[in-house]
């Protein structure tokens, strides 16, 4: 489906710094710059994927947009309105229109709760409809995500992983959200069941026009689900471009490294992976200059001191101008 052009969600310079405290007085001695100036937009009906190595700030970005962690800086606009200027009613409506599905269906659902109560909870919280209407809505949602409505009285622990993920999706859909943040929604599932859930997400987008901010470390999943991809490294987006471009011709050396590292699907086209150790620096001890310089095959002296900025090139593709280019 062709996403329409006005961004539904627009994020500018989002920043989440966690304080590092130490000593008896728990004084702040530094900060984990988990998200360090991230900007992107999300269209209606679009899927944008965040990819990058563990700890690069993908989940924190999603949680900050959900209001589940507090941003330390930046601006978020939803449907053209700035969140900071939201009054209580507007904020409440924003919370209805943004939902999240987590990775682990086993820990994100209360096993002692009945399925119908889990799915109905958002309707209760936001006081939507009469009790009878809520009941009907729950049945409708269960059907929508491929659960049998006669299972409504069962407990979460009686369901398989894939079914629990369906429950989580039904709950997220209850209030007809515009955006669903999907944080590794299939990585805990078996391949055969993972495909069922990916198909479900894809069908829901086609039928309901919902947007996804999808977080995944599996490049196969990313390639399947996304319209656009943002590659994150140590709290920053280093490249953002349409899916086909990212996969066909990665622009940033880090994107290239990620693509090169994914196993081939053809035993006749094996990679000759290098066995050398290449350690990932952490968000607490970020390298100077370009944060990727400790691993970059194209590193020059300037890269170690000067951080490149994200610049638009060739229309829809954003990536940092490398320092090498700045010099030329």
């Amino acid at each position: 489906m062709q996403p329409d052009r006005t961004p539904l969600l627009s994020v500018e310079n989002l920043e989440v710094h966690f304080p590092i405290r130490s000593g008896v007085f728990q004084r702040q001695v530094g900060a984990v710059k988990a998200v360090d100036g991230v900007s992107f937009s999300l269209q209606r009906g679009e899927t944008l994927s965040l990819v990058g190595e563990s700890g690069c700030g993908k989940s924190t970005t999603g949680l900050a947009l959900m209001g589940l962690v507090k941003p330390t800086g930046g601006r978020v606009q939803f449907d053209g309105q700035e969140i900071r200027g939201f009054n209580r009613a507007a904020l409440k409506s924003y919370r209805r229109r943004m939902q999240i599905v987590f990775q682990d269906p086993f820990s994100s659902l209360n096993p002692r709760q009945r399925v119908k109560d889990i799915i109905r909870a958002p309707l209760d919280i936001h006081k939507v409809g009469t009790p009878a209407e809520r009941e009907t809505r729950v049945a409708e949602l269960m059907e929508r995500v491929g659960l049998r409505p006669d299972q409504a009285d069962n407990f979460a622990h009686q369901f398989s992983g894939g079914q629990r993920q369906r429950i989580g999706i039904a709950r997220a859909l209850a209030l007809n959200p515009d955006v669903i943040v999907c944080d590794e929604p299939v990585s805990a599932l078996d391949v055969s069941v993972q495909a069922q859930i990916l198909n479900l997400l894809s069908d829901l987008q086609r039928d309901l026009g919902v947007s996804y901010l999808s977080i995944s470390h599996d490049l196969g999943v990313v390639e399947f689900i996304s319209h656009r991809v943002a590659v994150m490294y140590l709290g920053k987006i280093v490249e953002i471009a349409p899916k086909t471009r990212i996969f066909a011709e990665p622009g940033h050396p880090y994107t290239e490294l990620l693509m090169r590292s994914a196993p081939s699907r053809d035993p006749r086209k094996r990679h000759s992976f290098s066995a050398t150790n290449d350690d990932i620096p952490s968000a607490t001890k970020k390298p100077s200059g370009c944060p990727f310089h400790t691993r970059c095959p194209l590193v020059t002296a300037v890269c170690k001191t000067t951080e490149p900025a994200l610049t638009a090139r060739e229309g829809a593709r954003w990536l940092p101008v490398t320092t090498a280019e700045l010099l030329s």
Binding site: R206, R260, R265, D278
Partner: protein, 334 residues
Amino acid sequence: MSEMNTATHVPVLQVSDLDIEIRGVNGAFAVVSDMSFSVRAGETLCIVGESGCGKSMTALSLLRLLPDAATIAGGKVLIDGQDFLAMNQRQVEDFRGEKIAMIFQEPLSALNPVLRIGEQIAESVRQHRKCNRREADARAVDVLRLVQMPDPERRATQFPHELSGGMRQRAMIALALACDPKIIIADEPTTALDVTIQAQILGLISDLQKRLGTAQILITHDLGVVSEVADRVIVMYAGRKVEEASIYDLFDRPFHPYTIGLMGAVPGAGASSEAGDRLADIPGTVPPLWNLPKGCAFAPRCANASARCLEERPPFEEKRPGHWAACWEHDDAA
């Protein structure tokens, strides 16, 4: 690892008709049934299958490290021609490390947290070799260098928690290699790692195998990993082998409907997908091992299931030369 590998014709590991049983709340049930396979020096056998199909149980039984709830109920394991299951505890311990060693998914739980990396490796060396402390310590640094641990002398003095995930996995591989085992079993060695670090560890494993000529069993649920490293592949479903073939035969022409389904279900396998495309998913879920259907265990999810499939379990037989499968279907393409 490659078509021109150093494989000889004598299997160093030969497993026949292995049965493993678990006593649980649902009574005793089989987790692994009729497993037979062999591995030669220089060869990599991959075992793939979904969660709970019995891959780890198979691996652990080959070192006689099964959890208390599980027992080997039948079958034979020959390591270097010797009957491993008939050995006493002392002999088993001699064999572990010296002949057969294991690499686990979670290095943190497999490494001793209060022992320095170098000490752990040296300890294993001294258990198997007549050598003094200094020689064992030197061997530890040597194997750390072999696995391309940066700054091996210093890393040897560090504790597991001081290393990154990738370096810990290297330390565990070093520990497994310390006594030059003939067989290495790696259970999901890269599953917990980032794709970039996974690539390095797979590169390292391939490299080492070319140089050392060990026989290798690599267990994974990831067909991408399989396609990178396997010479031969076993596909398991609900505790049994359902298919076995060379890597090329399996990827070129999978036989079993489950294998075909798995290959279609992996996203990104096609050249490029459009958002809105659908994957070929396999309906339903894996049945619980204590309540398997009577005939073919895959029948409830199989589009080709016939009345016979529901009644009788298909035998594991050679469908094409060197290509085995457990399915009532015939090879119509042959």
